[in-house]
Symmetry: C2
Subunit: 281 residues, 2 copies
């Protein structure tokens, strides 16, 4: 889960997402609208007797923030292990999560305080096994099929070695989601976004307020779309609109003029991460 | 405003209550469900450029809690003055707010940590001016009427002194609201509740779980009703139900068997504080 503003636990309930499905919470920066739902969510997880471990990733200070929180752990400390990964001022590229099927890369963004962007990337999957071809080569044992699918060679009874490449189709790249907020358009954002299937980028202002965006460390809809086009993403999802805009339509229009495949994020709507056509790298 | 759990600012919005109408926030105790909405609400007040002063009252530690909150005041400190009133372990009766038309009394309750109950009381209002009687006594000047209504005597041109009691009807007592959560039934609660027009009292459990209530420092619906009857309140409003009860009906039934004039609090419903019949003290 990326960021955790006030009321997140209520939205999870409405979205029908069980707490146990959340294995990591990645915080962009320590401003309230990205953070103040965390103590309540952790309290509820504790109350519901969660046992699964949880990883909390974010800028330095996040563990101290939770430690200083009255009513969070004093009374009934969590029974589940929490691992903190803190990124300190001046950090560079960092792999903050590395699991068998995906990893998450963090890079610094440019906001008023230390802020982190994230790139979630599924690992390359082996291609499909061509069973007909395998049989032709004399592989008939299902245990051998599994070993080959895992990318390892097998040795048959006749000492013949079958390599995975002999029987597997093309490798399948995983999907990529980049989460970039709150920030000016910046190098870290561009690197995280490159070739992403879905880029969620903040668009606090319309471009007529670009001066205000510079002052406050935010981006305009035009700038988000420009970065999306340059990074060659599949789709762009705008978010983090200033309260001055009662309707996201003008922000969406401004972005679509530059990058057509853009949506404006709405609460409780699912935006699937789908592989772009014609991109296999 | 009494207590400020996560999501309070959203509920204020839904209820159509403007932030500027909140002059004081009174926190019962430093557990998350009574507290975690406070940083977000203060941030929003800051963002909306509130200028009115705000009083925050609660157990010791509440100012430090807000001080330690990243993203709350670092970036854009509030422009409005905040006065903290902290009650330390072992405090007795205390008048925490004293305004021209009402005051609030605090007393300690009995929970797992230091917890405060509150009694909001409107001050006595002078009776209505009997204009006919005033004219008979020679008072015809509207300035004199106002002075008499404020409880001060006036001297007429003929040196005759008219006392307020000569022209005013019976004094009108103010309304009383008592807010008592989270606690065992206790002496502090009883004293705060006496003769209240409306008592909001927690009822976490049904009485078959009274042992669990004792362990966790809570009350049962039966106990809340018993206290309401003993304190001679006008109406009882039950709140703070355990999540194990999907419906408040059994709690309400249990309480009404002891004290009939009981409701079970629901989100976003107004429960007016109306003077009890036949009570003029």
């Amino acid at each position: 889960m990326f960021d955790c503003g006030e009321g997140t636990q209520l939205q999870l309930l409405k979205a029908g997402i069980r707490h146990s499905r959340i294995s990591a919470i990645l915080i962009s920066h320590l401003h309230g609208d990205h953070l103040y739902g965390l103590p309540g969510l952790l309290s509820t997880m504790t109350l519901l007797h969660r046992v699964e471990p949880l990883t909390i990733i974010g800028p330095g200070g996040i563990a101290a923030y939770l430690d200083a929180m009255p009513g969070y752990a004093e009374d009934e400390p969590p029974e589940f292990p929490i691992e903190f990964v803190e990124l300190q001022e001046g950090f560079g590229r960092r792999i903050v999560i590395d699991r068998p099927d995906y990893f998450v890369e963090a890079r610094p963004l440019e906001h008023r305080i230390i802020t982190v962007g994230y790139r979630f990337q599924e690992k390359v999957q082996p291609g499909n096994l061509d069973v007909e071809r395998a049989r032709e080569l004399g592989v008939t044992d299902y245990v051998h099929y599994r070993i080959l699918k895992e990318g390892k060679p097998v040795v048959l009874g006749n000492d013949r070695v079958i390599q995975p490449r002999d029987v597997l189709g093309e490798e399948k790249r995983g999907r990529v989601f980049a989460y970039i907020t709150d920030t000016r358009p910046c190098e870290g954002g561009r690197l995280l976004a490159r070739g992403a299937d879905l880029l969620q980028h903040e668009a606090t202002f319309l471009h007529d307020l670009v001066d205000r965006a510079r002052e406050t460390g935010h981006s305009t809809a035009y700038e988000a779309a420009d970065l999306a086009a340059e990074a060659g993403v599949g789709r762009l999802l705008l978010s983090h609109f200033s309260a001055r805009y009662q309707d996201a339509a003008p922000l969406l229009d401004e972005a679509r003029a530059v990058f057509e495949r853009t949506d404006a994020a709405e609460e409780l709507v699912r935006y699937p991460v789908e592989k772009m056509d014609g991109f296999s790298g």
